[in-house]
Symmetry: C2
Subunit: 219 residues, 2 copies
Amino acid sequence: MAQQERAVRTRRAVLEAAAAVFAERGYAAATIGEILNRAGVTKGALYFHFDSKVALARGVLQVQVSNDYHVPRELKLQEWVDAGMTLAKRLPQEPMLLAGVRLSADLQSRDVVGSAWPAWADVTTSFLSEAKERGEVLPHVVPEETAQVFLGAWIGVQHVSQAMAGWADLEVRMSALFSHMLPAIAAPAVLVWLDTAPDRGARVIAEVEQASALAGAGQ
Amino acid sequence: MAQQERAVRTRRAVLEAAAAVFAERGYAAATIGEILNRAGVTKGALYFHFDSKVALARGVLQVQVSNDYHVPRELKLQEWVDAGMTLAKRLPQEPMLLAGVRLSADLQSRDVVGSAWPAWADVTTSFLSEAKERGEVLPHVVPEETAQVFLGAWIGVQHVSQAMAGWADLEVRMSALFSHMLPAIAAPAVLVWLDTAPDRGARVIAEVEQASALAGAGQ
């Protein structure tokens, strides 16, 4: 058990080191040597978990989508907004997510390594499909199509925020994106109840962390 | 006069060669040698017009925005849609525009070379400002803010279309972007009249080219 736990930790340390290097240098310029140095593990330990640079990049891409900050809400559309806004808050601070963005957008490496884009689009599709079943969404909305528009828009908003503000305005830009797309998606009676403020992500994260601290204290 | 005309042509040939090389290789990997070869001009001729790779890239970025396919319409918002849809039609076929997209998005070179993003955002801002004066736009719309959202979304839609379809679905994606953003922008009575179909750009271009052919025949 202790050995298995150590293996999980080593794997995570390697993945985090790989993410940091991919986020900084991109796929082509990243080397296993630098990832090794950064992870502080032996070559054998790294290769036990990941047998190549491709495997490392795929490992990073596999952990892009999580439910860590998902809180059930009365409106499924609010859950969708929350997913986007918590990601906008976390992205600039988390090398794992930054690496996912960079690897996914890399036109050279993505044929071999893959991309988190399909997984992101799936997240939107499934929120919108559930929202549609509940009547929160305008009748003509096709979840898969809207998910593709949102995917493109979200990637571009990331890019512009990175280039023009070093990520500092990502939450503001993301909030503006939601308020420019939701009127085409949400039923009017739902639209007025959605919270798309720039600090929405920070508030959801605080809520989840507080709940988790209370749960920890209660143990 | 003949000499001046020759100079204009040489400058254009050099710029088109530079655009093709920047579009294919990106800024860092492009060399003046390859641009020279492709342009078929002498080194002296190239350096007469552009004294460095930076100057060539800036030259390409300066010709990104044009009025070539602008047709006045009853609705300013239709003119804005037309600008976006004609660009979506032309982009995959024109190295000059592809180079503009690639250079503008290049996080390494854009600090030195610049970017067409501000010029694109200005185009949207000015269409939306005029549309607002005419009452075509919802009262709460701030043209500069909407222009920033649209800029990000448009860049991302380009990127996704390039990565996933080699640009083949750019018009479909762009049309979907407009239909997902316009309900947040256009007054309802205007919204129903806007043509955002995927082939809108092709139709506007055909209209302009036909008018220009007729004008030529009438001379």
